[in-house]
């Protein structure tokens, strides 16, 4: 397994930068350039390098979609949020018309995790094979239903690719295209499933839309084992801990604090904060990342845990 690319990091609902947001970034950047040389591209790069990511970049707004680069010929993808659309365009351009196989692993079937499929270019190309895996019995019917009138103008018959659906038994390991894939039931409205991918001595865990009941030690132990020694854990950190266990209890999401604790207990190497709250702007996510890194530092045990915040287009090497 070579790495992971984030195509959609946002929770619940896609969001976009507004004109006011872009203007704020430009103003901050121009102020930072005041009195400094801007004569060369090197000068400009130096100014941008000194700015926070929330100013010089953006976390982006596509809903959940994460690509696992297994190093093999087939594509591996988690969830089909709106980030599936740019992924599909990139994959189509990359392989230049050669038939491809896409293995797509569904955490669950809520709207923000399936909305990309009607716009997934590879599904329209004859010769491609799309294999959609999940543990919900309604896997196929839910995806067909979102493309039925009046929700969408064209149904599955428009797809030229072969569409296959595979039920994965939760709690079991499955060998798929040379990758060991283990699923686990998570706490979320209507259930969700986490995925652990193991290949070539590397492990990546995708665990989103997952609430952690803190009063249940057995639940904690299960997740510590599931995250055990992972090189990367992509983790639902949508809310603050206070919100997650009070006003937003039972909404099916978790926090940065629980992410740090579980990864520390599991001896994981990298925690990637994911499924960002759609009302958070770039500055709010920057602040959450800084706080989470601080928490990791002040609670660190024998080994450090690397903490990052997912953004659309982010590449993580494994």
């Amino acid at each position: 397994m070579k790495g992971v690319r984030i195509w959609g990091c946002r929770g619940s609902l896609p969001v976009a930068l507004t004109a006011a947001g872009v203007r704020d970034k430009l103003l901050t950047t121009l102020r930072a350039a005041r009195g400094r040389s801007i004569a060369t591209d090197g000068d400009l790069d130096a100014i941008l390098a000194g700015l926070p990511f929330a100013v010089a970049g953006t976390y982006g707004g596509h809903s959940s979609c994460v690509q696992i680069d297994t190093g093999g010929a087939d594509y591996f993808v988690c969830d089909m949020g709106s980030g599936l659309r740019p992924f599909g365009q990139a994959a189509t351009a990359q392989r230049q018309g050669k038939p491809q196989t896409f293995h797509i692993f569904m955490s669950h079937l809520h709207w923000d995790h399936i909305m990309g499929l009607p716009f997934f270019v590879p599904a329209f190309i004859p010769g491609n094979r799309i294999v959609i895996y999940g543990s919900h019995r309604e896997l196929e019917s839910a995806l067909r239903r979102q493309q039925e009138p009046p929700s969408f103008p064209v149904d599955f018959r428009i797809f030229g690719a072969t569409m296959e659906f595979v039920h994965l038994e939760p709690g079991r390991a499955h060998e798929i295209a040379g990758v060991r894939v283990t699923t686990m039931l998570q706490r979320h409205g209507g259930d969700s499933y986490g995925y652990r991918f193991e290949s070539g001595g590397r492990t990546a865990v995708y665990s989103t839309d997952s609430e952690h009941p803190l009063s249940d030690p057995a639940h904690t132990e299960r997740f510590v084992a599931f995250f055990g020694d992972a090189d990367l854990v992509v983790f639902d950190a949508m809310y603050s801990l206070a919100d997650a266990i009070s006003v937003k209890a039972d909404w099916g999401h978790s926090s940065n604090i629980v992410g740090v604790e579980l990864c520390q207990m599991a001896n994981a190497k990298h925690l990637c904060l994911f499924h960002h709250e759609p009302v958070f702007d770039d500055a709010a996510i920057d602040a959450m990342l800084a706080e989470t890194r601080r928490l990791e530092k002040i609670t660190r045990g024998a080994t450090a845990l690397h903490v990052s915040a997912a953004f659309d287009g982010m590449d993580i090497a494994l």
């Binding site: 803190l214 009063s215 030690p217 904690t220 603050s240 801990l241 206070a242 919100d243 266990i245 009070s246 926090s255 940065n256 604090i257 629980v258 604790e261 207990m265 706080e291 989470t292 601080r294 928490l295 002040i298 609670t299």
Partner: protein, 136 residues
């Protein structure tokens, strides 16, 4: 694991001072030790102040215990305050946003000032209404 909480009564207020770490191993004993103090506060309709000056770490599980306790006290129109957070614990409260959902004060004096002027006056004069005692 047994967690000791030293308690003292100051006028209408009980001040409880737990010591050590409240983590995934000690949160349950902490919850057990807190239960009779909450029941007592509800019964007498008097404030309960948790003096956290001797707590050096609290995990999410420990914070959940505080959330449940605060909810229980609110339901009975009784006040729970957390006072004198130290270094790491103060940062954990801020990062978790618990400093926004619980009544948190910088010092024990500040907590008493919020809930009982009489208790504050006694505390400041060094005249406590009862000897220190220890609850399980």
């Amino acid at each position: 694991m047994h967690l000791q909480i030293a308690t003292r009564r100051i006028a209408d207020t009980v001040v409880a001072r737990p010591e050590g770490r409240i983590d995934h191993r000690t949160a349950a004993p902490f919850e057990d030790a807190l239960a009779p103090l909450l029941a007592d506060a509800v019964a007498r309709r008097g404030p309960l102040v948790l003096d956290f000056s001797a707590i050096d770490y609290i995990s999410s599980v420990g914070l959940r215990v505080l959330m449940v306790a605060a909810r229980q006290m609110r339901e009975h129109q009784t006040l729970l305050l957390v006072a004198a957070l130290q270094g790491v614990v103060a940062e954990i409260f801020a990062i978790s946003r618990f400093d926004r959902v619980l009544v948190v004060t910088a010092t024990l004096d500040d907590a008493l000032a919020k809930c009982s002027p009489e208790a504050l006056a006694i505390h400041r004069s060094g005249n406590r209404s009862a000897n220190p005692e220890t609850a399980p």
